[in-house]
């Protein structure tokens, strides 16, 4: 059932680029390859953005031109030709497969395992003519979504696309956009500032507990925003919101380069829980194709007693470059990071977190589980920094790596920088493999090798998986097993 809601989300996104979709001007909605000021003006004009927004984009573009692509991560890829990339709504290939028979059977098998209905499988796989079915499905869901929207409105929650928000709530967007991830932050974030296509805006008013888990699915007019997505979530004093991003079904995208920015702001006593399941196309067994995912995610605990919690399950993308972080400014604020990153075949993941302790009595917890298989490389990179004024800081970090096979790599690069003696910082890391005993034990009870691995891996990742909202938890467990297929035997 959950698969269905998630799937519909994608359907909505995919449908947007087909002529049967409910956006009528789609055909003209893409800019030519390459990046220059005109492309940025085009994007801004398409979005009917106010002048200040265009100026903001252009300023970022000017900065970006002077910046260099970072090279410190443990990833390698051929140089990215930014002038050979679509920066806005790249057109989808129109000559998709005629029926499911033509679709990569590997992909179909995965859909099946995740329990996705046939009709939706067609849409996901981009089968020609399937869009109409999908659109019907979406139309069905629109009424559902509208119902949800009403309920949210009643609570005073603002939940819309960021383009809409710029028009309807410019004061909020102007105040908070770029306030957590500054325009100049890093190469990919700056690029995003210049070209972001759309994304989500959430505002939870004072004292409101958001009545439901939010996910992009409920946002109407969702377009293909996977490439340069921009998310801004503000939890005002005493509010709570749980946000779900992504999808367990494998996502194909013509655009190889992804650079999203997510900004979270938690004011006094507010709490934001942000959960991600990332399963973009990882490329084939030989590492051909696959998404380059360069994401900047950061949350600011601005208020006293605020809390931001990141949970991520990363199984997709050829390259994952992602460090969801917390800036703990408010006294007594709390930051958490729970991560499972799985790499197989030729995938490369360099992911982790930063916990910057500025306020007094701030606490953070980092649990990272890396699983490497095939010929992949999986790196945890994390920073815990305690500033001079941050008294009584507590941090606990645990990063464990599991290696499946002798051709993969597992790396741990933690930084601990402490400027206050009252801090208590603890860090632990281990590296191990699945023991023969564990395999034997499982297989003696009738599991085959892959099932046994899936079970052990799920046990290894349990501490993180239990942090996922119910909506994701079951599927994410299956996903771990599927991602590691072919890694044993």
């Amino acid at each position: 059932m959950v698969a269905t809601t998630q799937t519909k989300d994608q359907v909505a996104e995919l449908a947007g680029t087909y002529k049967h979709g409910w956006s009528t001007e789609i055909e003209s909605e893409f800019a030519p390859k390459g990046l220059n000021e005109d492309v940025i003006r085009f994007i801004s004009a398409k979005k009917e953005e106010p002048q200040w927004m265009l100026d903001w984009r252009l300023k970022a573009f000017a900065m970006w031109q002077k910046m260099e692509e970072p090279d410190w991560a443990m990833i390698s890829h051929p140089p990215i030709d930014y002038q050979d990339t679509y920066f806005y709504a790249a057109p989808k290939a129109k000559d998709g497969p005629k029926s499911l028979n033509e679709v990569d059977p590997e992909l179909l098998r995965t859909y099946e395992k995740l329990g996705i209905p046939i009709a939706e499988q067609e849409v996901l796989a981009g089968v020609e003519g399937a869009a109409k079915v999908a659109v019907d499905a979406v139309f069905d869901s629109v009424s559902v979504a509208t119902t949800f929207r009403k309920e949210l409105e009643k609570a005073g929650v603002i939940f819309m696309s960021i383009s809409e928000a710029m028009r309807e709530h410019p004061e909020l967007v102007r105040k908070y956009l770029g306030s957590v991830v500054p325009q100049r932050d890093n190469f990919f974030a700056t690029l995003n500032c210049a070209v972001f296509s759309d994304g989500t805006f959430v505002y939870i008013p004072k004292g409101v507990r958001c009545p439901m888990e939010l996910s992009t699915y409920f946002r109407i007019n969702a377009e293909n925003t996977g490439q340069f997505e921009r998310t801004l979530i503000i939890a005002d004093e005493g509010s709570y919101v749980s946000y779900l991003e992504g999808c367990t079904a494998p996502m194909r995208d013509e655009n190889q380069l992804h650079a999203a920015v997510v900004e979270l702001i938690a004011l006094d006593d507010a709490e934001i829980k942000y959960s991600t399941v990332q399963n973009w196309y990882p490329g084939d067994k030989n590492g051909k194709g696959g998404i380059y995912n360069f994401v900047t995610k950061r949350g600011a605990c601005r208020g006293r007693n605020s809390k931001i919690s990141w949970t991520q399950v990363e199984t997709g993308s050829a390259i994952t470059w992602k460090y969801p972080s917390c800036i703990l400014e408010g006294d007594n604020s709390v930051g958490e990071f729970y991560s499972v990153a799985v790499t197989n075949n030729r995938q490369q993941a360099d992911t982790g977190t930063k916990m910057i302790h500025i306020g007094k009595n701030t606490r953070s917890k980092i649990i990272s589980k890396g699983i490497s298989a095939g010929r992949s490389n999986n790196t945890y990179r994390g920073l815990v920094r305690v500033m001079g004024g941050a008294d009584n800081v507590r941090n606990f970090t645990q990063c464990d790596s599991l290696l499946l096979g002798d051709q993969c790599g597992a790396h741990t690069v933690p930084y601990i920088e402490v400027k206050n003696p009252t801090a208590q910082i603890e860090h632990e890391a281990t590296t191990s493999k699945i023991s023969d005993d564990q395999m034997f034990y499982c297989m003696a009870r009738g599991l085959d090798a892959e099932e046994a691995v899936a079970m052990v891996v799920n046990g290894f990742a349990k501490e993180v998986m239990k942090e996922l909202p119910m909506e994701f938890a079951v599927e994410a467990q299956k996903l771990l097993g599927i991602s590691l297929e072919g890694s044993v035997g």
Binding site: D406, N420, Q424, H427, K433
Partner: protein, 445 residues
């Protein structure tokens, strides 16, 4: 930022040009020096943007044109005795401001076939074997290049196959009355099969401005056992950069280091284990006082199966000081059954102190045991309370706990006078750090 500019090193070129005629070594070595100097000038001093130098402080090297010392001042034996290890009856080599002093040394107690030579003598004599002696550091970083270009003094110790040297060899480096001088030292220690040796180095000095730039290359054949013990307590005007290379077969390399000296210190241990069954052990203590930046880097390269390494690092920071530890374990593809452990603990005694730790694992083999742990914090208030409840004054209680924290690492040193010297170093540091801490603010929480 200013720190990252490498332009400010013309002083080194000038120093090289003036010193060159006096540098020991024949034609091939002169050529090697020239290439190294050219490389150094193009590399520049590493800035903070360079990952492995992010916590180091090389300001003083950019500001002061340190001139290699060609003639050392007179030093009296009392100063040497003070710097050396009390009660250690051992052969002793003495360097004053980086120049070997035969009269102050004590070589007569050495066995006949274990004669340490001065690197300078060896280089001056020339001959084919020296080429093998000097490690090829062409691909190394700026300090490898600088050291190769300028090295003029050091110790060469070769322990023949099967020789078990029972008494340690002591090397004392004293800095006295040095006016912006520099010592570019290269030590070469080679152990034949089944040989064993302990070398103890003590660095000490007054507050004059000085730059110690040392590389120690050690090579251990199968069955060899080398223990390298370092006490680094140079004066507050010194910049100290020392790097130890260990290349070992199925051998045992053990290093223990205690450092409280210099305004800015960088210690490195880079170990390559090349035969199955090799072991590297490292124990590092850093004691930082106001104004100091103490930086340690270790790199354990496991390239073959079934080797082990253990690293334990402890830092105590008082006043406005910085101490950093970057420890890396690399387990290459074929190095199955590697057992690598690493633990880094830092104790902050002052609000203005800053501790940084980066324990890094890079692992490409699956059947391995690799773990690291790191902690940063202050003294446990409960423990302080416990001792105070038994009648100790706050600073006594603190001192006892800090001493225990450091002493745990000295316990493995087999030689008693050396172990006592390490403990005494820690105690002396504590006394002065405590005095400095108690001076401005009275009482304790």
């Amino acid at each position: 930022m200013m720190m990252d500019q490498s332009s400010d090193i013309s002083g080194f070129q000038k120093a090289y040009d003036t010193t060159r005629p006096a540098l020991p070594g024949g034609g091939w070595l002169q050529e090697l020096r020239h290439i190294a100097m050219t490389r150094f000038m193009s590399l520049g001093l590493p800035g903070r943007k360079l990952e492995s130098w992010r916590y180091a402080d090389l300001k003083a090297l950019r500001k002061t044109p340190f001139q290699p010392v060609t003639k050392a001042p007179e030093a009296d034996i009392a100063a040497i005795e003070k710097a050396a290890i009390a009660g250690l009856d051992a052969p002793r080599l003495v360097f004053v401001n980086g120049r070997f002093s035969r009269p102050l040394s004590r070589l007569h107690t050495l066995p006949a076939d274990l004669a340490p030579k001065s690197l300078r003598d060896v280089l001056m004599l020339g001959g084919g074997s020296i080429r093998d002696l000097v490690m090829d550091l062409r691909d190394g970083d700026a300090f490898d290049q600088l050291n190769t270009a300028m090295m003029s003094e050091g110790v060469v110790i070769e322990v023949p196959e099967g020789m078990q040297v029972k008494t340690p060899i002591e090397i004392v480096y004293l800095v006295t009355d040095a006016d912006n001088g520099a010592a570019h030292l290269r030590n070469v220690i080679r152990l034949g099969q089944g040989a064993s040796l302990t070398v103890v180095e003590s660095f000490a000095g007054d507050d004059s401005r000085f730059f110690t730039n040392q590389i120690t290359q050690t090579t251990l054949a199968d069955g060899a056992d080398l223990t390298l013990l370092r006490r680094q307590h140079e004066g507050s005007g010194t910049v100290h950069v020392s790097r130890t290379y260990a290349t070992l077969g199925k051998a045992r390399f053990q290093m223990a280091s205690i450092a409280s000296g210099s305004t800015s210190t960088r210690h490195e241990l880079r170990a390559d284990v090349t035969t199955e069954g090799g072991h590297v052990g490292y124990e590092g203590i850093q004691l930082a006082r106001a104004g100091q930046v103490l930086d340690t880097l270790t790199f354990m390269d496991h390239a073959v199966p079934s080797c082990t390494s253990t690293q334990t690092y402890r830092a105590v920071l008082a006043g406005q000081s910085k101490a950093a530890f970057q420890g890396k374990v690399l387990v290459r593809r074929d190095a199955q059954h590697t057992d690598a452990r690493q633990k880094a603990d830092s104790l902050l005694l002052d609000r203005a102190a800053e501790a940084s730790t980066k324990p890094e694992l890079e692992i490409y083999a699956d059947d391995v045991q690799c773990a690291h742990g790191a902690t940063v914090g202050e003294l446990d208030a409960d423990q302080v309370f416990y001792l105070m409840a038994r009648g100790l004054a706050p600073n006594e209680a603190r001192a006892l706990l800090v001493e225990a924290f450091v002493a745990e690492l000295c316990g493995n040193i087999a030689n008693e006078p050396v172990r006592d010297a390490f403990l005494a170093d820690a105690r002396n540091w504590l006394t002065s750090a405590n005095a400095a801490m108690d001076a401005p603010k009275e009482g304790d929480q």
